[in-house]
């Protein structure tokens, strides 16, 4: 891909002035890339972008504070960086962003569903991208899948495919997939009766193994080694293997991210047992956007729930 070479050139150009550039390289199997930390020209040769550029590189920024780091970013990744900067968790001048037009990324669960009856995603021996399709080399022969059918949900509601805040943008900007997020996924969930919703979360959370991949993959989850879930003194959460404590943690997580979450979906993707965690986060995001008119990762300044105003323009308290 020509754009791939152009991104490599952009990386090579800035790399000498940076401690590293984070992007994506080959992963452990054909359907998965891995985060790539590029420190020299040989590393840059390993760079790959495209449909497998799944991981959000903004995750690594807070731990690298103090050194100037380059990131290759999708539009959604750039929003995470924007939010880190807005909250003073990362200095903008310590980050060099290389943007490119992102046309969506793969969702492994949807790919598994599309392959059902043929093989597991882990049996796919090769992959090539052909325009709007991916062609998979499976034990039973080639399987062609439309990217739109196996792309992450967030890609179907993508408003910012272009990393507008990038220092360098490689390639031509593309049009957003949608103009506004209608939260149709939440509406579908909220159509369920309360009892059914409760049963749904009980079932989903009962699979939780408490690995905290959700937390550790979240670029905005910056307490890291000082999480309430790990604290023994005070001992907020029990070690009991119950749904109550597991859901309790998820609600704490979602509350801490209210108005900060940019919807990158890494929590849900990272969950090894497929708990739909982004649903909780999106419910909070919708509230905050509606109440405070603040869009995480795009707007400047502290998120509304981390600050205080005597009167909120959108909350007509006196008219109640």
């Amino acid at each position: 891909m020509a754009i791939q070479d152009d991104i490599k050139s952009a990386i090579a150009e800035v790399l000498p002035g940076l401690s590293c550039v984070i992007g994506w390289g080959a992963g452990p199997e054909p359907l998965r890339a891995a985060p790539l930390f590029m420190r020299d020209a040989a590393d840059v040769e390993k760079f790959t972008a495209g449909f497998l550029a799944v991981n959000n590189p903004a995750l690594f920024l807070p731990a690298l504070k103090g050194a100037k780091v380059g990131l290759v970013v999708k539009g959604c990744d750039a929003r995470s960086v924007g939010q880190l900067v807005a909250e003073n968790l990362v200095k903008r001048e310590e980050v060099h962003l290389i943007g490119y037009p992102c046309r969506g990324i793969i969702d492994m669960d949807k790919t598994a569903a599309a392959l059902e009856g043929r093989c597991e995603p882990g049996e796919v021996k090769g992959l090539r991208e052909e325009d709007g399709d991916i062609v998979l080399d499976t034990p039973g022969g080639e399987v062609r899948l439309a990217k739109t059918d196996v792309a992450a949900d967030k890609c179907a509601r993508c408003r910012y495919p272009n990393a507008e805040s990038a220092d360098v943008f490689v390639g031509e900007k593309i049009a957003p997939v949608v103009e506004r997020d209608d939260y149709a996924d939440l509406a579908a969930f909220e159509n369920m009766e309360l009892d059914a919703r409760k049963a749904f979360w009980e079932m989903e959370m009962s699979r939780c193994i408490r690995c905290y991949a959700c937390r550790n993959s979240c670029p905005l989850c910056v307490c890291r080694d000082h999480c309430v879930a790990a604290s023994r003194e005070p001992h907020w959460l029990t070690q009991a293997d119950g749904v109550r404590d597991k859901l309790f943690f998820q609600l704490i997580h979602a509350t801490h991210l209210a108005g900060r979450c940019t919807g990158c979906g890494e929590c849900e993707r990272a969950c090894p047992v497929g708990i739909p965690l982004l649903t909780l986060k999106r419910a909070f995001s919708r509230q905050v956007e509606g109440l405070f008119g603040y869009t995480a990762g795009l707007d400047q300044g502290m998120p509304p729930l981390l600050t205080f105003k005597l009167e909120e323009p959108a909350i007509k308290e006196r008219e109640w």
Partner: protein, 358 residues
């Protein structure tokens, strides 16, 4: 005409499988892989439940024998209310676990328990410090292993002495043939479990054997990792090597908690007022709290210290004291489910290469 039969082998058609499982469920809790939304997990089976045979389980079945969180005992303290000087403490033993059958464990999962066994059976203490909680469950659990037909890209059981139809650690093996499953007892426990089943025909036995042999051929040739224990020791102080290997790691616990051989735990008292329980729950060496000492000192402060330990433990420190056996069964779940695509095979191979150059 009398059909020639192979008495050691039994056959159950998929149609008759629910009846067999129902029969097993009368005397034990039967755990079987079930598809639940996007994951395949081991759940207690009850009539009407499907058993997932297509996709391999996301998690290992170790929690059946080593629960995620297990009550060791409960306690009630005196000294409250009318008798503030009452210093009594009443302890109550936890309820006894019941027999279990793990139906459809993978061969790697069964071998995983072999890494647990010496540790929980008092190794290093001359058998004095035996873990009664683990050993009790281990003794009353029967493992029915489903042999694998194909490897996943992340599978490497063959590197660590396993294979798609390894019977090591299993009580019985089952292999999918045609319209059903061929069973073969490996232990007395397994034989007792299969006793009531009709014998398989010689043809069915041969079909299963052929299927397993074909599967063996599809699995990767083992990489030579004999040097791993020494190489990892040699690299113990090579921080730059480990920092590079660890850069992409998120230090979550997905690898550890999905691993059939990771056996570390934590103990906490969970009390509410004067009553409480002492729990033993899974812990993982990727967490910074794992080695945080009371003094505030943490000997493994950075994620590279912790991932080094994880790999070193499995491929160097454990084999050193357990006759060379790696505490890894090659199931590859740590690779398959790693949100950041960390590949433990690559780390081990890179370590061998790096140590050779030092």
């Amino acid at each position: 005409m009398v059909m020639s039969t192979d008495t050691a082998k039994k056959f159950v058609s998929f149609e008759a499988l629910p009846d067999f499982l129902a029969q097993l469920a009368q005397g034990a809790c039967v755990y079987a892989p079930r598809r639940e939304n996007k994951a395949v997990v081991y759940r207690p089976w009850s009539p009407g439940d499907n058993v997932e045979f297509a996709a391999r389980p996301t998690e290992s079945c170790k929690h059946v024998i080593f629960p995620r969180s297990e009550e060791l005992f409960s306690f009630t303290r005196g000294g409250e209310g009318e008798n503030p000087d009452d210093s009594s403490l009443i302890l109550q033993e936890a309820s006894e676990p019941g027999p279990a059958v793990i139906f459809g464990a993978l061969s790697c999962d069964a071998r995983g328990f072999l890494a647990f066994d010496p540790v929980y059976d008092g190794c290093g203490t001359g058998g004095k410090a035996r873990d009664v909680y683990y050993l009790k469950r281990r003794a009353i659990t029967t493992l029915v292993v489903r042999t694998c037909k194909t490897p996943l890209n992340t599978c490497f059981c063959t590197w660590v002495g396993g294979g798609p139809a390894s019977s090591e650690g299993a009580d019985a093996l089952m292999t999918e043939i045609g319209n059903g499953l061929l069973f073969e007892a490996v232990s007395d426990k397994g034989a007792a479990l299969l006793q009531s089943l009709p014998d398989a025909s010689a043809e069915q036995g041969a079909e299963a054997t052929a299927s397993r042999e074909a599967a063996q051929g599809r699995f990767p040739q083992p990489a030579d990792i004999k040097a791993a224990p020494g190489s990892l020791r040699a690299l113990f102080d090579s921080a730059p090597f480990w920092e590079k290997q660890t850069a992409q790691c998120l230090y979550c616990g997905a690898c550890t908690y999905l691993c059939p051989t990771c056996y570390c735990f934590n103990i906490t008292d969970e009390s509410n007022g004067i009553r409480g329980v002492r729990l033993r729950s899974w812990d993982n060496c990727m967490s910074p709290l794992f080695t945080l000492e009371t003094s505030g000192h943490n000997p493994r402060p950075a994620k590279f210290n912790r991932l080094k330990n994880r790999v070193g433990h499995k491929f160097s420190y454990y084999p050193k004291i357990h006759s060379g056996r790696f505490s890894c069964c090659g199931c590859g779940r740590c690779i398959k489910s790693c949100p950041s695509s960390v590949d433990i095979r690559k780390i081990v191979l890179d370590a061998i290469k790096e140590a050779a150059n030092v």
